[in-house]
Amino acid sequence: MIQLRDVNHHICSVDGDLEILKAITLQIDAGETVAITGSSGSGKTTLLGMLAGLDIPTSGEIVVEGSNLTTMNEDQRALFRAKSVGFVFQSFHLLDALTALENVLLPLELAGNNQGEAEAKAFLEQVGLSHRLKHYPSQLSGGEQQRVAIARAFAAKPQYLFADEPTGNLDQATGSHIIDLLFDLNRQHKTTLVLVTHEPRLASLCRRQIVIENGQIISDKKSELSDV
């Protein structure tokens, strides 16, 4: 369970103080699938980053399973991410110098699991890349890279999985494939899934849809259409 209490985020820029998140209070329960939507610049990515513990807000509290992310130091949050968080980036962010398999192994190593090779291979198999284990990111297509990134996000079996426009850089067909993959894996591993998207189809696949505008939640509803 993730709880946000009165989260505000400011940024000092040349044009003065910028309020990116305003008084956000929110609770995400274990096992939920949540889509965050809203227009460009509304603060979706910022909110997602806060939920994943990649940054801390200017004020307010973020409490995950009873532990307060906002009072932790940088390294404690890193350990929290290693243990409980998986992240899929819009632009994949695979390590160029590592093979597909090594990329998937990375979160396992960071979580202290040194015998993860079989698991990593299994995940790559699930995303359909068992024949590309030794390939480097530069040798993979965008869709393939995103599949490796998804395998990497699930590899350490995190409780929470975050994705920022996971299909943003992909074509329609590949995008659908990625979405299916994401939800398949989510069902299998009972992960809490929070994603940011512009795509109505993707948003509608989630049970809960949060719309934010100008740094504020303007709508938060649970869809009747449960599990697809």
């Binding site: 110098a97 090594e102 990375l106 960071l110």
Partner: protein
Amino acid sequence: MFKIAWRFLRTDWRSGELRLLFMSLLLAVTIVTGLTAFVERLQLMLAGESSQFLAADRVLKSPQPVNPLWLDKASGLNLQQAALINFQSMFYASVDVDAEPVLVSIKAAGENYPLIGELKTRPQPYGEITAVKSGPAVGEVWAESRLLQQMNIDIGAQVYIGDAQLKLTKVLVSEPDRGAGFISMGPRVLMHLQDVAASNVISEGSRVSYSWLFAGDKKAIDLYWQWLKPQLTDREKWLDLENSQPTVAVALQRAKTFFVLASSMIIVLAVIAIAMSSTRYSQRHIKHIAVLKTLGATSTDIKRLYTYLLLLLFIAVVCIGWLLGFLLQQLVLMQAAAVLDVALPPLSLWPFLLGAATALISLMTFTLPVIDKLRSIPAVRIFQQASSQELKLSLTSAVIGLAGVLLLLSLYTGQILLSVLMLLSLTFLLAVVVFPARLLLTFIPAKGLKARNWWSMAVANMQRRLWVNALQISLFSISLMLLLVLIGLRDNLFSQWQEQLPAETPNFFLVNLQQPDVASVEQWLQNHAAKQETIYPMIRGRLVRINDKLVRERVSKEDFKRSGADRELNLSWADSLPPDNTLTAGSWHDADASSASNPTWVSVESKLAKKLEIKLGDSLTFMIAAQTLTAKVSSLREVEWDRMRPNFYMLLPKQSLQMFPKTYMTSFYLPASKHKDIVNLLKIIPTAIVIEIDSMIKQIRHVIHHVSLALQLVLFFVFIGVILVMFATVQISLDSRKKENTVIRALGGTKKLIIGSLITEFMLLGLLAGILATFAAELVLLALQKWLMDLPLQLHPELWYLAPLLGLSIVGSAGFLAARKVTAVVPMQLLREN
């Protein structure tokens, strides 16, 4: 295009992309200009200081006045001149016939004396020392204080030299060209040249030495010598630093080599720094070029754009770099000039040219090829290339760039061999480090990140980045090697100089002793706690035959004169091989080791032997006191003549020599407090001649001390350069590391893990580089000792720990700073990057 170039520069500067390139270019121009100017002017200063040994640049010595045409020629060439006459005379303090005169050694000096250096005087026997630039005026004399004591006279007294009545106006402390003084020949008196005629003391046949001092432009002096050389006879001697002060001359020569080496090293370091940053800069422009191409820019446009851009950058850097370099050397030199007590020598344009050329050549060789290649390939392909961000430094352009700059340097210094040696050792290092590393890369594929702990992550990282790491290691080790070579060389030179003139170096020679005097001399020296050297017999002899050939036939007249064999040689015997001698051939026999089965042998000094083509086993015939003596060459000896101890060209068995007339000689060290007692020794043995070399030794020490100081300063410059280059080298992989480590942190890697692994990795790199550098430096040092410096071959175990330690600490701390930079990014940033 010019506008775009300007805009690119501005945005690049703001984004920080240009800063590293700008800084390394600026550093290169500043330090190359500064150091080469510093070295150039420092050498002039040291040369100026050592010219004081002669009080001139060159001296022509003759026992009689020389052809006035010779002096006219010198004036024609704009050489400064001064005339000197040295002679001995009686010195009276009163016209009274009964007054007891004292034998003094007089130097009569004309206008302009001394041309270089200063005379030190006191207004009263115990007054403050003041330095003056000219000798006594007409009608005045200056004398050493011991003469004032001896004669019981004061400043202002009327004194008499021959028929001249003169006024004693100052106490003479020292002249720059005092050299070795004969104490027994009396205290020094300085008078004006014009008063010599009035004194009537110089007549036909009196022992007088005339000197003409010359100073001026090196070219004019060389021209003059070319002209004068064929006209000189046996009686005239041409003195320069080389033949009058070999110790100082050799020290200066070696220091010069050291300086050239240091300048080339700074250039190498500068080229490396520029190479790295400009390659990195051009790689970062790959995207710009691709965008420009898609917007329709032709390849000519792109070429012009980057030419403008680099030109603007170059001009800015050179202007600032020249200014900084100039200020840097000016500041240090002003201090040095104050210490050395000489004027600041002029500054040539070379250092500025060299600084600019280093920047220009390396900027061109490292940026243009990359851009040129990009110009000709389609935009789409460039975008693909841009994604693989690894930095690739082209080896060929590295070698071309270095060769270009080193060529320039060798033109500047005239030391081509040195440049070639540098280039070879650098290529060697690159080959030794980079190629095996590349081979390893193909055989041991890296296995993941091993992000379990910082140690395994560091090791895995090292393997994975083998290519870049190999490059970094070789750059680190080149920098460290250069530093080590200079340190090793400095230590070699220092210990060499230390050995040459250790504390308690003999400061007096005692010659012309008779057999019965020997015991009393030994007694006297013992009573005065003098450090005494062996007393050697001295027999005058002339070498007349080598095997069956007369010596005069065997060698050309020219060689013969130079080797000194036409003069009488001093022969001696020794109980054992004298201390400054090393056998180069044959074997040594002690003085009494001659027997029927072992005929008369002779041990010959090796340089003379070489000149006269004397070989082991030759038989030499000497003419001694109208008798002949034939001896077989049993050994050749190398002699270090500059150790202030008696040494001989020919050593023979005692029994062959002892029947001939002989005198004895020795040298000894007497502490300054006891110098005044020398007079007593002369009272005991009136025939003995004491030659004082104390002030000369002091002067030599003084110059060598300054040369050492200069060496240290230059070394310090280089050390700073090395640190900067090593820090810059760490930047090579910083970009890709930054991105990679941010991702790792987003995935849950802690800062501790990342900083720990980075520091470990860099420390390992530094350690490896240090070990390699040590090997390479020893090899280079051996080569330098053998071929360039003519120094004894030796290893430097005291340096073996230094490079690994320096590598570990410098690269480690550079790694720490880099790691801090790498981890300063908030992982959130990843969400905003594409």
